[in-house]
């Protein structure tokens, strides 16, 4: 019987409809990500979070930059925009301001959002722009073959730091907080449920929400730093602690000590759009309502 069940399960007959298929451009699956790549689980948790939030999918948009992670926009069955390297946030800003009814999710890589795109990130955070930004942090530039990123650990090996990275990585939640983000969380791909819940929470609040997701790039980062995919996942498991509401300033920059995960900031502050409408377009603001 077990044998029969197995056969049935593993065929494509009857059961092949994955719960997320409705949110996927299935004609483009399998995606281009390498075996074991952490973008897939991040993407999948994001989709589950969007679904769980109950937002109207017809007015939900995904915007990505360029990179392996940025390819996500090409797989989601939502209005989706795959822009230029580093520019997803300002593109998304224009989109959100032009049509405030849209729920705009930016999904992109660490290089895209924090190397070339770092300025847009800090300014959108400062403005408390009404966006949800999800960063796949795989510690390197996957797409171009594994160069150092602004998130690459000190002394890690990449193709442009062959003897080790002389620089230190950003602490992304701290940077987001310092810039003015009003929702900040960090998870790993192993923390699928927490991640999903953070996405869900971010989708239903106003203002700027940022979620960092630690995700393996086994091919380009892992290979050069003796991290097979399962080793990376194990690190996420044994070398992390969850401290919700931890002060971002106390998050140890990656290096020694466990990586702190959690939802660090969740602050209620007037978002750009609500402030703009109040100040400049009182004619549009719903009367008597904040």
């Amino acid at each position: 019987m077990a044998q029969t069940a197995k056969k049935q399960d593993q065929t494509t007959g009857g059961f092949e409809h994955h719960p997320l298929d409705d949110l996927l451009r299935t004609d483009r699956i399998p995606h281009i990500w390498c075996p074991g790549c952490g973008i897939g689980p991040t993407f999948s948790a994001t989709l589950r979070g969007i679904l769980a939030s109950g937002v109207d999918l017809g007015s939900t948009v995904m915007v990505s930059g360029i990179g392996c992670s940025g390819r996500a926009a090409g797989y989601v069955k939502l209005d989706s925009y795959h822009t230029t390297h580093g520019r997803a946030i300002p593109f998304a800003t224009g989109m959100k301001l032009a049509n405030p009814k849209l729920n705009v999710v930016v999904f992109s890589g660490d290089g895209d959002l924090f190397a070339i795109g770092g300025n847009h990130f800090i300014h959108a955070a400062r403005r408390n722009m009404d966006l949800t930004v999800i960063c796949v942090n795989n510690l390197n530039y996957g797409m171009t073959g594994g160069q150092a990123a602004a998130t690459t650990p000190h002394m890690a090996k990449t193709t442009t730091t062959p003897k080790g990275n002389p620089e230190r990585p950003f602490n992304l939640p701290l940077l987001a907080f310092a810039a003015g983000a009003t929702f900040v969380a960090r998870w790993t791909v192993l923390h699928g449920r927490d991640l999903m819940e953070s996405v869900q929470a971010a989708m239903t609040r106003r203002g700027f929400s940022f979620i960092e997701v630690l995700a393996p790039c086994p091919i380009n980062y892992g290979r050069r730093n003796k991290e097979l995919p399962l080793v990376t996942l194990r690190n996420y498991q044994v070398n992390t602690i969850i401290k919700n509401e931890a002060s971002p300033a106390e998050l140890a920059a990656s290096g020694s000590g466990p990586i702190v995960l959690g939802r660090f900031v969740d602050e209620n502050r007037e978002s750009f759009l609500s402030q703009y409408d109040k100040t400049y377009r009182p004619q549009l603001a719903p009367a008597g309502k904040e």
């Binding site: 090409g74 795959h82 593109f91 847009h120």
Partner: protein, 387 residues
């Protein structure tokens, strides 16, 4: 609520006229970054837009400004930015994104003398070739060049109309002098203005293919949130908008992108002729230098020289036929522009050896003087006279 169209007679700068033209054309999003001498466009938009239900945002730089207007346009709203040389250079990458994704948008360049920081408060027309070639790869776009504040108003409306009609970025290439000069601008009633809207996606949402050409080779456009579930990418893509990494897809995509402009040259490539019928010498000019030409033409005609003027209201796509048609007939072309020879190269190419071509130009900081043009006319008429 302030009026949407500021009907009536005004004394305003070219920069202000551009802002008013944009509002009248239906622009409801402006993402900008200050830079002399374009700042006044942004400042007026900051004042005006919220009152007509639009949004103004000052972005962190010109890259972001350009990205934001593409995003806004993809959300279904007419969008514009304005800048000058240094900022224009920074917009080049995303200008290519607008071109390949066929996103309507208007970029105003109030030119100042470069290169680099150059003379920030003084005019030039040194970014004309950059307007055509400044982004990487092959692409096609439209660039207009008003010569007065009144033209600035109307050409800005035309810019939006062309952008929306052909789903293409349109550049308004003006300069510090027109931008900062005040003069009379007469704004008609809203009902008298021709304002074109983009062709929107219609029909069954599951059958819509975002890059399948409609009429004139232009695909109807679905905005985000309209339920068409589009995918838009800066990668080479097929009619579904999906990336396809082959030379064949590149060929078919690019062929259409170029054809939609080329096939509609009659509608796009606007010129205006002055005294061309009997002209022996034709001045070719655009933007503020047209003013020099018109003054010089009067002076030269008063001296008995048969001088005409071909004003390029559209500079890109280059109105090739207008020059070709004259080339066999005239004694010489003189391109008048505030640069060291940019559009003059196109004129020379199209003259194809049928008429000698001269340049009355300099590298900026002031207008070309009418005297310099009159001198050039005299020289061109001297037998064997080469400049």
């Amino acid at each position: 609520m302030p009026p949407v169209v500021l009907t009536g007679e005004h004394y305003m700068t070219g920069d202000e006229a551009i802002a008013e033209g944009a509002i009248a054309a239906g622009c409801r999003f402006f993402g900008g970054y200050p830079i002399t001498p374009a700042t006044e466009v942004a400042e007026r938009m900051a004042h005006r837009l919220p009152g007509v239900g639009g949004v103004f945002i000052q972005m962190e730089d010109e890259i972001a400004a350009m990205a934001s207007i593409i995003g806004a346009s993809c959300a279904g709203v007419k969008a514009m930015t304005s800048t000058s040389g240094p900022g224009f250079s920074l917009m080049m990458e995303n200008l290519g994104l607008a071109a390949i994704t066929e996103t309507p948008c208007v970029v105003v360049n109030v030119q100042r003398a470069g290169p680099s920081t150059g003379l920030p408060t003084q005019g030039a027309q040194g970014d004309m070739m950059q307007a055509r070639w400044g982004s990487h790869g092959d692409y096609s776009l439209i660039a207009l060049a008003p010569s007065t504040a009144q033209e600035a108003f109307h050409e800005t409306i035309r810019a939006f109309n062309l952008a929306e009609k052909y789903r293409v970025p349109v550049l308004v290439m003006t300069d510090e002098v027109v931008g900062h000069m005040s003069e009379r601008v007469v704004i008609p009633e809203a009902s008298k203005l021709n304002v074109i809207e983009r062709v929107k996606a219609r029909g069954r949402k599951d059958r819509y293919r975002p890059f399948e050409p409609g009429e004139n080779g232009v695909p109807p456009m679905a905005a985000a949130g309209e339920g068409y579930c589009v995918h838009v990418t800066g990668l080479t893509h097929d009619e579904r908008g999906y990336p396809v990494m082959t030379a064949e897809c590149q060929e078919s995509m690019q062929t259409r992108l170029f054809a939609k402009i080329e096939r509609n040259l009659d509608d796009i490539a606007l010129t205006r002729g002055f005294f061309l019928d009997d002209a022996e010498i034709v001045l070719v000019s655009y933007g503020v230098s047209v003013r020099t030409c018109r003054a010089a033409m009067e002076e030269a005609r008063a001296l008995g020289y048969k001088v005409g003027l071909l004003q390029l209201l559209t500079v890109w796509p280059f109105p090739e036929e207008a020059v070709r048609a004259l080339a066999g007939r005239v004694k010489a072309f003189i391109t008048v522009e505030i640069n060291l020879g940019q559009i003059s190269l196109e004129v020379e190419r199209l003259a194809a050896g049928l008429a000698p071509c001269f340049l009355a130009g300099h590298c900026g900081g002031t207008l070309i003087s009418p005297d310099a043009v009159v001198e050039a006319v005299k020289r061109a008429l001297k037998p064997g006279g080469k400049q």
